[in-house]
């Protein structure tokens, strides 16, 4: 029946579309869900911390000259013409002309050669010279060794001696070492050569009262004695007189000797010359009085040695570069390249003193200092003295809040002239023949133009072959507390230097004191310096126990919280309060 059919149809349609209507209603529910609800994600910012990074300074001292060509006979241009030092001088007895010896007076601290000088502070006074017979006026051939010496013992008697001495060169010539500033490890030795010792038969006082003869057979020759005053100053006024076969020029008619080599009392101070018997190259002053007629010196060791002529070998031939006077100091550092042997020379330090800071205590590892040659990229391990100790090849630091003094000197076993850079490395144990890759601190001391440099060390990667990379704190970060995790996002953080890695810590700081600290993770950056550090609260007990997130540099292989804090968060407990971070204490 149609009615029934239509009635049933409507029912069926209603039944069929009931799910459609119900479904439509269901779809109108809220489509956005707040996951965080009443506990939002709490955000804090990170900023560079007050990092104490490894660093330090270098200071150079005891400058010396390297690569000086000492094969040149007069490499230091110290030879003098025969009468070059024969000049007019003002003395305690007026102005006279003679050989000026003032620049040659040496005491024990100035001349290390043998026989060793008796320790004193003797220095030359206002004048000292060997004045010609014309000025002396005592007679033909009578010269006047006249001068003032200070710093001797007060009211003491000293003996004055003229000597012809040969030099036993032991190792390198000491003058080479002295003039280049190098240490004299094995002093040369002087000894009398030719002639016999001579003392006057009676007591002679050097007060221009009596002459003592010199000739080719007398060596050394005692000229007399003098006595110092209460201040330790003595006046030497001896009268050596050329007698017999002495080659000394003797005229009283002229103030100026002819300059012939064989007529000069001290020989010719030049390469290739010969110091003949009867010519003397040293004036020696001994403490004590000689015994007249004994032909013995008062002592084996003089107090003052004045090199007045060139050093000679056993045959009397002048030793190259052994010219008078004995050099008290290194040659002129501002001019050495202009000297005959200095064309390829350059200055190097004698001692390099490092004051290193920010070095964490390593414990199981060690620091080592290397010198690096820029041209060959070679390294050499330096033996260093740490805080005044004996030389060592490696050391540790008392802490990164301490300063470690490291001295590299002649006991380092290295020639500073062969290297350019100082490199500090981290070593797993005793250093080997090559440094580890952890070359993290470096400083140049000898530049490419061979000038010396000193100053601050650079913390970073030392790798000249591929480019050094100083470490500079960079990047930023933020952190969020979501559910039971702390999520730290680090952006554009500078890669750590070799030998170091990043690690995260949670700490609680009260004033300057850290009262709680928890190492959390090693943090590895991606290629652009980003990293995510997700810390579950279960890892640290409770976030409320701390307050600060720190990103610090740790030495590789170690888990120590250093002061190299490169990122530090806001104090989240202070910021959000104990409602979010309830503390039990």
């Amino acid at each position: 029946m149609p009615f029934q059919r239509h009635h049933g149809l409507r029912a069926l349609l209603a039944a069929a579309f009931a799910p459609v209507a119900l479904g439509l209603a269901a779809c109108e529910q809220d489509a956005v869900t707040d996951v965080t609800g009443e506990k939002p994600v709490l955000n804090i910012l990170l900023a560079p911390g007050a990092a104490v990074l490894p660093g330090g300074t270098s200071a150079l001292s005891g400058t010396r000259i390297s690569n000086f060509d000492t094969s040149v006979p007069d490499a230091f241009a110290r030879a003098t013409d025969p009468l070059e030092t024969y000049v007019s001088q003002t003395t305690g007895a007026g102005t006279g002309t003679g050989f000026d010896l003032r620049t040659g007076v040496r005491n024990s601290s100035q001349d290390p050669r043998l026989p060793a000088l008796v320790e004193s502070e003797a220095v030359v006074g206002d004048w000292f010279g060997l004045f010609n017979p014309a000025w002396a006026g005592a007679g033909v051939g009578l010269w006047d060794l006249f001068g003032e010496i200070r710093g001797l013992k007060p009211e003491a008697v000293y003996t004055v001696v003229l000597a012809r001495m040969a030099l036993d060169v032991r190792g390198d010539l000491d003058q080479h070492a002295r003039l280049t500033g190098s240490p004299i490890e094995q002093p040369d030795s002087l000894y009398f050569v030719g002639g016999e010792p001579y003392t006057p038969g009676s007591a002679v006082t050097c007060n221009f009262s009596a002459a003592v003869g010199v000739n080719t057979s007398r060596n050394p020759v005692v000229l007399g004695v003098f006595e110092t005053n209460a201040a330790g100053t003595g006046i030497v006024d001896c009268v050596p007189g050329a007698t017999g076969d002495s080659p000394w020029w003797r005229s009283t008619a002229s103030q100026t000797p002819p300059g012939a080599a064989d007529s000069l009392p001290f020989g010719v101070n030049q390469p290739g010359a010969t110091l003949r018997p009867g010519q003397y190259n040293y004036v020696l002053i001994y403490e004590g009085a000689y015994v007249p007629g004994s032909n013995q010196l008062p002592s084996q060791n003089p107090v003052v040695r004045i090199q007045v002529g060139p050093d000679i070998d056993a045959n009397g031939n002048v030793i190259n570069n052994g010219f008078a006077p004995w050099p008290a100091t290194i040659t002129d550092l501002s001019n050495f390249r202009n000297l005959p042997g200095g064309a390829n020379a350059f200055a190097v330090p004698g001692t390099i003193t490092l004051n290193l800071t920010g070095l964490p205590t390593l414990g199981s590892k060690q620091y080592a200092v290397w010198l690096h040659n820029r041209q060959s990229n070679a390294y050499a391990l330096a033996r260093v003295k740490v805080d005044g100790g004996a030389p060592v090849t490696s050391f540790d630091s008392p802490g990164d809040d301490a300063t470690v003094q490291v001295v590299i000197d002649d006991e380092s076993g290295l020639d500073f002239g062969q290297y350019n850079d100082i490199v500090v490395t981290l070593e797993n144990g005793a250093p080997g023949s090559a440094p580890s890759d952890a070359r993290f601190l470096y400083r140049e001391y000898l530049a490419a133009n061979q000038s010396l440099t000193q100053g601050a060390f650079t913390f970073g990667r030392f790798d000249p072959a591929n480019g050094n990379r100083p470490y500079v704190i960079g990047g930023s970060g933020n952190a969020s507390f979501f559910r039971d995790s702390m999520l730290v996002n680090l952006q554009r953080i500078t890669p750590p230097p070799p030998g170091f890695h990043y690690a995260s810590y949670l700490v609680r700081r009260v004033g300057d004191n850290v009262t709680a600290s928890q190492r959390v993770h090693a943090v590895t950056l991606d290629e652009i310096g980003n990293a995510t550090d997700r810390i579950a609260e279960s890892e640290v007990g409770s976030f409320a126990n701390y307050g600060l997130y720190l990103l610090v540099l740790e030495p590789d292989g170690l888990t120590i919280r250093t002061n190299a804090i490169v990122q530090e968060s806001e104090n989240y407990v202070d910021k959000f309060g104990e409602n979010f971070f309830p503390r039990s204490n």
């Binding site: 069926l12 439509l24 779809c27 709490l42 969020s480």
Partner: protein, 237 residues
């Protein structure tokens, strides 16, 4: 709540299925049939679209009593699953809220289909159907700050059973696999890129807010529509 709604729907379906056949509606060559049907659309999980409700209209021209072709159209109302679209909003510098952002959507499907009646002379007639066309998903302007839609190719295949009510009417139970191609799940994300938890470069701001077990996005998704409908043969009483 939704589960209870669907229990009601299934109970109704069972009631209809249990109703005895009344009158056979024999279709002849050249006849047009109109079908209106509706029911739940079970979207693939990877589509990020929750179960929706659809209404479909089909007009079939019978080339033979057994085989027909004609245009089809579907309208589906649903919403997206906010678990796939995590938004992060900062409230000042100190606090952040995290949201799962879903949105209501409407889907329009259109195209042509062919139908093969397996037992056209029977009062209970199973059939097979297949078609092709397109789909357009209309997103919420209020969620996207603008009118936004996305579309792609659609294929469908399925079948059903038709119960004749009279010469002109029948009801039918139908199941279709609605295959969306060119499907881009991210098109359904209403969260501005700057506020997304999953950043465009792949980084995730709050990994803990993500659901790790959700399926990966695919460009082809299989969705199922289960419907019950009414077929009418115009010109018949």
């Amino acid at each position: 709540m939704r589960m209870r709604n669907w229990l009601v729907g299934l109970a109704t379906l069972a009631l209809v299925a249990g109703t005895p056949a009344l009158v056979q509606g024999q279709v002849e060559r050249g006849d047009w049939t109109l079908a209106l049907q509706g029911g739940p659309v079970l979207y693939a999980e990877a589509s990020a679209i929750e179960r929706g409700t659809g209404v479909a209209v089909e007009a079939m021209y019978h080339i033979t009593p057994r085989f027909a072709i004609g245009p089809i159209a579907d309208f589906i109302h649903s919403k997206t699953d906010g678990r796939y679209f995590i938004g992060v909003l900062n409230f000042g510098p100190d606090s952040t809220h995290i949201y799962e952002v879903g949105q209501t959507i409407n889907v329009l499907q259109y195209g042509a289909a062919a139908m093969l009646d397996l037992m056209p002379e029977s009062n209970i007639s199973p059939y097979l159907a297949a078609g092709a066309g397109g789909y357009t998903i209309y997103l919420q302007p209020t969620s996207n700050d603008m009118a936004k839609r996305t579309h792609g190719m659609m294929f469908q295949a399925g079948g059903g059973v038709r119960f004749g009510l009279s010469d002109a009417t029948a009801i039918q139970l139908d199941v279709r696999d609605l295959i969306y191609t060119d499907f881009d799940r991210e098109e359904l994300n209403p969260v501005r890129p700057a506020h997304r938890n999953r950043q465009p470069d792949g980084t995730i701001r709050f990994p803990g807010a993500e659901y790790p077990d959700l399926p990966e996005a695919t460009s082809t998704v299989h969705n199922f529509r289960v419907s019950i409908g009414f077929r009418y043969i115009p010109g018949r009483n």
